[in-house]
């Protein structure tokens, strides 16, 4: 399908930067526009990586919950067992992958705060969270306020 999603987003950024931005004189509006363009550019590379990230994260979270299950209270263990029985969603259904991810992470949020987890479990939790943080595709893109505004203060 042409233009592809990437081509459309790239083209939108180009038009915003070359046509719209030069006509925006209000410093606040220009700062916001710069931020939106930067975010769009981030999405161009990040969006294709989202389904793969969710599939991998669901798999990793399932593994971690299974590892922790023996140390969890009965009620939480039961909920973990239930969710682990559920089939993985269609790998191209991003909404279903996202919903599954939220369910798994809700259980994980409770599991990681349980008292008395062993040092091995603590290490596994930190390893999982650190790796996930390094793989998350969508990241904030900082943009500075347009300079003239600051200089006028």
């Amino acid at each position: 399908m042409r233009p592809s999603i990437e081509e459309q987003l790239q083209g939108t950024c180009r038009v915003l930067e070359n046509v719209v931005a030069p006509c925006v004189n209000d410093p606040m509006a220009r700062t916001m526009l710069d931020g939106l363009i930067a975010n769009l550019r981030m999405l161009i590379s990040a969006y294709p990586a989202v389904p793969g990230f969710l599939r991998q994260d669901n798999e990793n979270t399932v593994q971690l919950l299974a590892t922790l299950a023996s140390s969890l209270p009965a009620e939480l263990t039961s909920r973990v067992a239930d969710i682990l029985k559920m089939p993985e969603p269609d790998p191209v259904d991003v909404a279903a992958l996202d919903a599954r991810n939220a369910s798994l992470r809700e259980l994980l949020a409770q599991a990681v705060c349980i008292e008395g987890l062993s040092a091995d479990h603590q290490r596994a939790i930190l390893q999982h969270m650190s790796k996930r943080a390094s793989r998350v595709p969508m990241r904030y893109v900082a943009t500075a306020p347009s300079l003239p505004s600051c200089e006028k203060i």
Binding site: C150, K152, I153
Partner: protein
């Protein structure tokens, strides 16, 4: 300028959250008229909204009028709550802090009027003197010569120590701000946990994990002081080689002095607060120790460093929630970039805690 026109505009601005320079001017005139009933012959020039400020609109306005004391002229800064905001703070408290600080050497703008509930300006607002100087949030790593930047870096630490040395009881700040009834670390954690739960759109096991650690390791305070709450060069004005004003007191509160020190030694914000190889964590802490005579336990400071990152995470999640709700116009993401630094500092703090047998911590309020 025609007073009747402004009076009519002032009537329409009440409760109107939209923003335009005409509405701001009309609201300001109405507010001044309410405060100074004899004021007349108003003129407002140089009305301009600045681009900076993530939680509030900042307006620069030059105002003149005539009242019983004669012709008046003010260079004003009007700070108005944005429709979507990252910090849900109270203008009355901020106004009280600014009024109290006028009696101290801390350079702050003189606060004139407050619109506590947005009656005049459509959203809660403060009007204060516009101070001289420039806002340079990366001044310590900018183009100035190293010696100048080092002087400024020391001045920032001096300023922090001066704020912490303020006799807040004598200034009446105990009536304006809440006096912590528990350890300040626990009070702040409870406040920001409530914010976290309020804005959370999805599960964040990483932030729950860190929150749990913070709760288990909360330090006691050596003293209760006035804490700025967002101490950084970006919240100051610099004129030449001097700090001409410390701004943005909306998060000021009574708390642990290490909270501000933890904010400026937070490793994720090195570019704002440190000069590589010259003014780093060690130098900042040593200068603060010398200035205040306080002991700074590494484990306690690391706790406040972790808390700073966690608080920053909650502020970013607020932005996410406000953007999704259509009230905030900048896009933020879940702050995953803060997770690994927090985990590393937690591990370091636990090592420091077991290595540091010095226990200078007193109960909260014992030196208040």
């Amino acid at each position: 300028m025609d007073e009747k026109i402004f009076t009519r505009q002032a009537d329409t601005v009440k409760g109107d959250k939209s923003t335009s320079s005409e509405r701001i001017v009309a609201g300001l005139q109405a507010m001044i008229t309410d405060a100074i009933p004899t004021a007349h012959h108003f003129a407002f020039t140089g009305v301009e909204r600045f681009a900076g400020g993530l939680s509030r609109e900042n307006w620069s306005i030059d105002a003149t009028w005539v009242d019983t004391a004669g012709a008046q002229s003010r260079h004003l800064m009007l700070m108005r709550d944005a429709s979507g905001t990252l910090l849900d703070t109270d203008r009355k408290r901020e106004f009280g802090v600014l009024k109290a600080l006028e009696a101290t050497p801390v350079p702050t703008p003189k606060a004139y009027w407050m619109d506590e509930d947005g009656h005049w300006l459509g959203a809660p607002s403060l009007v204060m003197d516009r101070m001289p100087g420039q806002c340079e949030y990366l001044v310590l790593n900018g183009t100035r010569p190293l010696d100048d930047r080092l002087k400024l870096a020391r001045s920032f630490t001096d300023l922090m120590a001066n704020i912490h040395a303020i006799d807040w009881r004598a200034l009446g700040l105990g009536e304006v701000l809440d006096i912590p009834t528990d350890s300040p670390s626990r009070v702040e954690l409870a406040h920001w946990e409530a914010e976290y739960r309020r804005v959370q759109l999805e599960p964040h096991p990483e932030l729950d994990y860190v929150l749990d650690w913070l709760g288990l390791n909360a330090p006691k305070a050596q003293a209760i002081v006035l804490v700025h709450g967002d101490f950084k060069p970006g919240n100051a004005l610099i004129e030449g080689e001097h700090i001409s004003a410390k701004l943005d007191w909306e998060t000021a509160h009574l708390g642990d002095p290490l909270e501000d020190l933890g904010w400026v030694t937070n490793p994720v914000r090195k570019r704002e607060h440190q000069i590589p190889g010259h003014w780093e964590r060690q130098e900042i802490v040593a200068a603060y120790r010398d200035l205040t005579g306080r002991t700074v336990r590494e484990a306690d400071l690391l706790w406040w460093n972790v808390f700073s990152c966690w608080k920053l995470s909650v502020i970013q999640l607020t932005a996410v929630a406000e953007f999704v709700a259509g009230r905030y116009n900048r896009v933020f993401q879940t702050p995953t970039w803060l997770y690994r630094p927090m985990f590393q500092m937690m591990a370091t703090a636990e090592s420091a805690h077991s290595a540091d047998s010095t226990d200078c911590a007193l109960s909260a309020g014992s030196q208040s």
